[in-house]
């Protein structure tokens, strides 16, 4: 199964989030709220991947610092 964050871009999710959030709340349907929630969940998945990459990179730098060879 393909990861949803590979299929929908951060920009597409940003558009979804902004579109729902800019509306008067009492006109927002359940389906729109669910779309907003799903977009934010994918945002979280992307954030976790980015943080893991950052940590990996920092670890690599640490290793380099430890091993001058």
């Amino acid at each position: 199964m393909k990861n949803p964050i590979d299929e929908i871009t951060a920009e597409e999710d940003a558009v979804t989030i902004d579109a729902v959030m800019s509306r008067t709340p009492n006109t927002i349907r359940d389906a729109d709220l669910d779309a907003l929630v799903e977009a934010m969940r994918r945002d979280r998945a992307r954030f976790i991947v980015a943080e893991a990459k950052k940590a990996e990179k920092a670890e690599g730098l640490d290793d380099d610092a430890r091993d001058p060879e």
């Binding site: 920009e11 959030m21 800019s22 008067t24 709340p25 927002i28 709220l33 934010m40 979280r44 943080e51």
Partner: protein, 368 residues
């Protein structure tokens, strides 16, 4: 001579009846700050964003857990929590979101050639994807001569504590703690979230506080307090909570908090929410304190109250100048005494924190 005489003409002040952890912390930090903020009700105008953002997060999490207690599905609970935050953060009178404003902006369409400083052809810096510039639409880009597009954009009052972030906190929190062992405690179907407790000591003195929730972790019950922060969540972040006036105050009165509930609370659990522009991180810290330590805290509270009563009788609350760093009233205390009232009126609002209603309320007889 006038200065010396005025030292003997101070009028006694009345202390508040209700003392929460914040009231104590302020007094312990600096008696003058206590006088200015708690007794006189001076408050920073810009702190409204922090307060409003905190209220939105609390509302979202409270709604999420209340819906869980009603037996709704996880997705339904998240949806209802998001709905609550969106409603509470919308200004229905002006039909626009709170915590920011709309502004005119523009974006270069980049149809004409642009040359950079070195004279090479490049993409116009005003036409980069996602780049918008606040201000009236110039119609023609000053850098490359391309036509521009006018936009209306949302500008948050605070990029980190904004409306979108409040919704994000709720959605991400629900994901983060989805399969956790931390369970909200309910009594008779009533979830123990956002409740107020009081412990009357005498007619003129009541200790009080507001609890974000009572949660069960394993066999132990904890009072949970949500903290939003811009700091990163390392050991040093959690070190600030031991010792800490709020954690110690809640631990000292944990019997009073659970009085009537038939529960035995064993400590305080801090659920920290670290905010950045790109995302949110969560962390948990548990703080139990022994009976001996709690007794020490009670003795200290009695001591501080005694000192407060002495100062109130004398009508004089001295400055603690070792605590001025980052204090909002620093500019007031650094000014000539005769200029302080003017500085307060020009830079602060009159809105006193009410520990019972958990709201900032306008001070009677003053214009805020």
């Amino acid at each position: 001579m006038q200065e010396i005489r005025s030292e003997f003409e101070l009028k006694p002040r009345e202390l508040p009846k209700f003392w929460d952890a914040s009231t104590f912390r302020t007094f312990m930090e600096c008696p003058r700050k206590f006088e200015l903020s708690v007794l006189d009700g001076w408050s920073e105008a810009e702190s409204a964003v922090d307060l409003e953002f905190g209220s939105l997060v609390h509302l979202g999490l409270e709604t999420f857990y209340n819906n869980i207690a009603q037996g709704k599905t996880h997705d339904e609970c998240v949806r209802e929590a998001v709905r609550a935050v969106l409603h509470a953060s919308w200004d229905y009178e002006e039909d626009k979101p709170k915590l920011g404003h709309y502004a005119d902006a523009w974006h270069c369409l980049g149809t004409e050639k642009y040359r950079n400083e070195k004279g090479n052809t490049a993409k116009c810096p005003y036409s980069h994807k996602g780049k918008v510039f606040i201000g009236p639409d110039p119609e023609t880009c000053g850098a490359c001569g391309s036509p521009t597009r006018a936009l209306r954009v949302w500008v948050p009052a605070d990029k980190v504590k904004c409306r979108k972030q409040a919704v994000r906190v709720v959605v991400w929190f629900a994901e983060e703690f989805k399969d956790t062992h931390l369970e909200l405690v309910s009594i008779g179907g009533q979830p123990l979230t956002e409740f107020h407790w009081q412990k009357a000591i005498n007619d003129g003195l009541v200790f009080c506080g507001n609890v974000d929730g009572v949660f069960k972790l394993g066999d132990s019950l904890f009072v949970v307090d949500y903290k939003t922060t811009r700091q990163s969540l390392g050991k040093s972040y959690f070190r600030q909570y031991d010792p800490n006036p709020q954690v110690e105050f809640y631990n000292a009165f944990r019997e009073a908090i659970s009085e009537g509930l038939g529960l035995k609370i064993e400590g305080i659990l801090i659920q920290a929410i670290a905010l950045t522009q790109n995302g949110v991180k969560f962390g948990v810290g548990i703080f139990r304190q022994s009976a001996a330590r709690r007794q020490e805290v009670v003795a200290e509270i009695a001591y501080w109250l005694h000192i407060a009563e002495m100062m109130a009788k004398r009508g004089f609350f001295p400055r603690n100048t070792s605590a001025c760093f980052r204090c909002a009233f620093r500019q007031v205390c650094a000014a000539e005494p005769t200029a302080r009232e003017t500085i307060l009126r020009e830079n602060f609002i009159r809105a006193r924190w009410n520990p019972v209603t958990r709201q900032k309320e306008a001070v009677e007889g003053t214009a805020s």
